[in-house]
Amino acid sequence: MKESNIELLSPAGSFEAMQAAINAGADAIYFGVEQLNMRTRSANSFSISDLAEISRVCKKNAVKAYITLNTVMYEHDMNLLHTILEEVKKQGIDAVIAADFAVIEYCSQLKIPLHISTQANVSNIEAVQFFSRFADVVVLARELTLKQVEHISKEIKRRNIRGVSGELIKIELFVHGALCMAVSGKCYLSLHTQNASANRGACLQNCRRTYTVKDTETNEELLIDNEYIMSPKDLCTIDLVDQLIASGVNVFKIEGRSKGADYVHTVTECYREAIEAVQNNDYNSDKIKIWMDRLTKVYNRGFWEGYYLGRKLGEWTSNPGSIAEERKIYLGKSTNYYPKIKVGEFLLDSGTLKEGDTIMVVGPAIGMAKEKMETLIVNGKQAEMANKGDKITFPFPSKLTAQDKLYKIVKQ
């Protein structure tokens, strides 16, 4: 394969998720600050004061950092927007992801690299040409087919459409994660029912609930075959990675700023391996099956390949939430670390842990680490089981702090 230089872009809704993305092989991460991003309600956003640390960690790991400023912007947001952008410039955040023209204008003035958000629903080459005056990367609408994507990427080369940096405009595509029942960003369900605008990051996900249809004359409730008639399954393209690369996509984007470090780690790792497999001519159905198994273990509503193969939205989930095969149970926080012998100590705040259980440690400096508890040391002695209040110790390669949390992984 000639097409190399695929950038894998992972979501970072927290320092834990950011570190997990870095460890799992992301080339870049994206995140939001304050209230001007599309996950204002669901993720604990970073604040402006976190920009320095995000920049420091990403630069140290040679990973690019992009900030999302992609909500609808009002007049009263302009000062905050300016403050954020000045800090973005100062801290050397690599680019801004935006759709509102105010953000585009300010970035242009401040000479901050810009990526056009999927919220702009770019669906044709003329739109790409228009945005090339301001941006270097365009995130295409999630509703396109691969043929349409391929046409756009070919036309970029044929017309030699270059972005602000002087390089050919890059195409970014969502490859994995939640899908919207509406054209991305054009949904007002949440606004109409609960006054909570999805376009200000406050989506209440009405589409993810069950509904009955009632005949008001007879009061009869109509049965609907699929209970979750508006909740699409999640996008998964792990079996299309070769086709995506061949269509000329430059950046693979993973959705999920509301998701935990374990999710980000697993999904990033699978797509990293898949991209490398395609580039090494080693991408095959056995590998796809293994990646698929791993992806079904973390949060998902069931998978389909989105609109890329020309299918209509008809893949509705039959579940209210995740059908992940595994889930995590919180056990406790780290209480000590012995650096000479590289052993970590955790106090169990809740739950129990048995020999042979799989544990997961999540923290801002380590991201996510999983391992099987072959031998369990409880309060300094080998034991078969640990209970609430017990201190357990096990070898761990890197320093632990009180911010590092211990979970156990159980099958659903």
Partner: protein
């Protein structure tokens, strides 16, 4: 007298409170969030005794806030 309470940290700056009851609210030009006028601030929770004449609309504002961070007690 009832009090109106605004948990300002979680405000997403949608502006609905200001639209509905401009007598009590302003959109901050500084950080884009809503500000409860003349409120006393304790640990970033903004509290204002609510005059009877503002109560009916005040309760509508409570219902309208998309992130449920306005209360009347």
């Amino acid at each position: 007298m009832p009090k109106i309470i605004h948990y300002r940290d979680k405000c997403i700056g949608c502006g609905v409170c200001f639209e509905m009851q401009p007598e009590l609210w302003r959109m901050s030009k500084k950080d884009g969030k809503a500000t409860l006028l003349h409120a006393v601030v304790k640990k970033n929770i903004h509290i204002l005794p609510l005059n009877n004449s503002f109560e009916i609309t005040g309760r509508e504002v409570v219902k309208a806030c998309p992130v449920n961070i306005i209360k009347i007690q």
